[in-house]
């Protein structure tokens, strides 16, 4: 679970941390990805495991389009830019939830019999559910690829530079909108990966994103803004803390542990664990 939070958070970290844009529609992106997986399965019988790359690709396009249509304008505001972003994306979240209710109906859905669903595997006598394991594996691979991408490729460096100083990068011929649109696409594709995996073992309904979104923000902030590694580490910590809290406190209070740990960390280190901003 922690690794999945990690993956979800890395997607957000890319948007939220690296581009310094608050995205309150993150959970709704996840919801969309889960529905995509669901419909691919229902109509074309594509197993979630195979559809994950398709969903990621779809989400890439979606994220880039959202940036070009909405976020680009939200970033142009001169005064209180933070609030404009918060409420533009909050409005987007409500809009997406409404559209999901309209087109997909508010019913709870789940993918009945997928290739991996419900299977468990025994490793050294410990039974682990296969979908979660595959999710963890995908998370690690995706994180590795992203880390490499951010540190070693021109695009990754361009992205960081653009956040630092959009004016200066324009001088060396980097188009800010192009870079950020790709960044949004990439971030959304990561959410697509997470959504594809999570569709296997979570119910899918229009409000599903809300329950994960807050945890994703906390994860990013816990790891520290501006750090991809931090978001991943944050995800693992959040997963562990949640599991530990669930053992001590009643299950309905399991998030309290995560929130408390976040508060403790930022009170001691106001920039999160690995944050640079």
């Amino acid at each position: 679970m922690g690794l999945l939070y990690g993956l979800l958070a890395v997607g957000l970290a890319l948007i939220f941390g690296l581009m310094d844009v608050t995205n309150f529609a993150h959970g709704e992106f996840l919801m969309l990805a889960m529905y995509l997986t669901f419909f691919l399965f229902m109509f074309w019988a594509v197993d979630p495991l195979l559809s994950i790359p398709l969903v990621a690709a779809g989400m890439f396009v979606f994220g880039a389009v959202i940036y070009l249509v909405i976020i680009r304008f939200a970033m142009r505001a001169k005064a209180n830019i933070g609030m404009v972003q918060i409420f533009a994306t909050f409005g987007l979240a409500i809009l997406m939830r409404g559209l999901a209710q309209f087109f997909f109906t508010p019913d709870y859905r789940s993918i009945p019999a997928s290739f991996l669903g419900g299977k468990t595997i025994s490793i050294f006598g410990v039974f682990l559910p296969v979908p979660q394991l595959v999710g963890a594996l995908i998370s690690i691979l995706a994180f590795g690829a992203l880390y490499f991408f951010m540190k070693k490729t021109d695009f990754g460096r361009a992205l960081e530079a653009t956040r630092e100083d959009a004016g200066a990068v324009a001088l060396v011929g980097i188009d800010k909108n192009k870079v950020f649109a790709l960044g949004w696409g990439l971030g959304s594709a990561l959410i697509g990966l997470a959504g594809g995996v999570m569709a296997i073992f979570f119910y899918i309904y229009p409000d599903v994103g809300a329950s994960f979104a807050l945890i994703a923000y906390v994860t990013v902030a816990l790891g520290g803004f501006g750090s991809v590694f931090g978001a991943f580490a944050g995800g693992i910590i959040v997963g562990l803390v949640e599991a530990t809290t669930a053992m001590i406190l009643p299950p309905s209070l399991k998030s309290v542990g995560i929130y408390a740990v976040y508060l403790l960390v930022v009170f001691v280190r106001p920039r999160g664990l690995f944050g640079s901003i």
Binding site: K78, V84, I86, F87, G98, P250, S255, R271
Partner: protein
């Protein structure tokens, strides 16, 4: 400076005129449904005004004000149902408790900046929500049903008419507005704007940044809790889902942001536009259960926040609304 004084006098006259008009409206509008919307509009205007003191003037974006709202509502409801304490005392008690908690929470959180601060406020409110959700004495997830003990001002209960609630909400809204008006010209108001614009520069000029934030938080939390207490009496039933969720914190900030953040009239304008729109779309097209009201509501928020990032108030003044005060 002269134009500033003039503007303030003009604001005061305008507010008094609007208040008188608002007080007369119920003589012409007898429809209970419409009156209900008017009460909610006034309540949100006041709540947003309270949020605006901390979020707008002082620049500390809190998305956890549902905590104070919930504390106000729960203090009043618990004292009344368990000990028979009149809601008026509960209201004041809730306000004081919220202000104290805001100070206690402000002590560690005001060192945080930017997103870290915003997320801390969300997370703290969420912890409060979860605790109340699991607190059996306070009804846990089921909440508290406030027993009807007959209509009276002493018990602040009115089952037959909504008018008393309307007038209380109007007074509440006027008080919140007046406090903001008064603080705007006090040393606190100037400190807050300095803290918002550049905390480091303010500190170097002798503004005690930390204390300014604490002051703003206490006033803001107190007023928000009064609103919570009012809401509890108004709907006579509260549960954590209805008074303490994150969604609610956003709804308190939304009128101020859409109307004009950090301005005197922004919250009022935002609430007058937003709340009737929300309620009307909900009841006229939300009945289908298919989320059409959400689609419209979300779209309007996106469009306004993109088209008028300074708030709708900018449409009414020749100068940019956010700079009006400093001139």
């Amino acid at each position: 400076m002269d134009s500033f004084t003039q503007r303030r006098r003009r604001d005061l006259i305008l507010a008094a005129a609007l208040a008188v008009i608002a007080a007369c409206v119920p003589f012409f509008v007898k429809d209970v449904y419409v009156q209900n919307i008017m009460v909610l509009t006034l309540m949100y205007a006041a709540l947003s005004q309270a949020w605006n003191i901390l979020g707008g003037y002082c620049g500390q974006i809190s998305l956890g004000h549902a905590l104070y709202f919930g504390l106000g509502a729960y203090t009043t409801a618990l004292l009344f149902t368990k000990f028979g304490v009149l809601p008026w005392f509960g209201m004041l008690g809730g306000g004081v408790i919220s202000a104290l908690i805001a100070l206690a929470l402000g002590y560690p959180t005001f060192r945080l900046r930017g997103h870290y601060f915003v997320i801390a406020t969300i997370v703290i409110a969420e912890i409060g929500f979860l605790l109340f959700h699991n607190w059996d004495y306070a009804g846990a997830a089921l909440g508290i049903d406030i027993p009807v003990r007959g209509d009276s001002w002493a018990k602040f209960q009115f089952t037959r008419s909504k008018l008393p609630f309307y007038y209380f909400a109007l007074v509440f809204c006027c008080v919140a507005w007046f406090i903001t008006w008064w603080l705007e010209d006090s040393k606190w108001g100037f400190w807050w704007r300095a803290v918002k614009d550049n905390p480091d520069a303010a500190e170097s000029l002798g503004v005690v940044v930390f204390n300014s934030k604490m002051g703003a938080a206490a006033v803001s939390a107190f007023l928000t809790a009064i609103g919570g207490a009012f809401y509890a009496q108004f709907v006579s039933y509260i549960d954590p889902e209805s008074v303490m969720t994150f969604q609610f914190s956003l709804l308190m900030a939304l009128p101020a942001v859409l109307g004009g953040i950090g301005t005197l009239w922004g919250p009022v304008l935002g609430a007058v536009i937003l709340i009737p729109m929300t309620e009307l779309t909900r009841s006229f097209i939300g009945g289908s259960g298919r989320g059409v009201d959400l689609i419209l509501y979300g779209a309007v928020i996106v469009v306004i926040s993109l088209a008028r990032p300074d708030g709708l108030l900018g449409l009414f003044s020749r100068r940019p609304a956010s700079k009006g005060v400093s001139q």
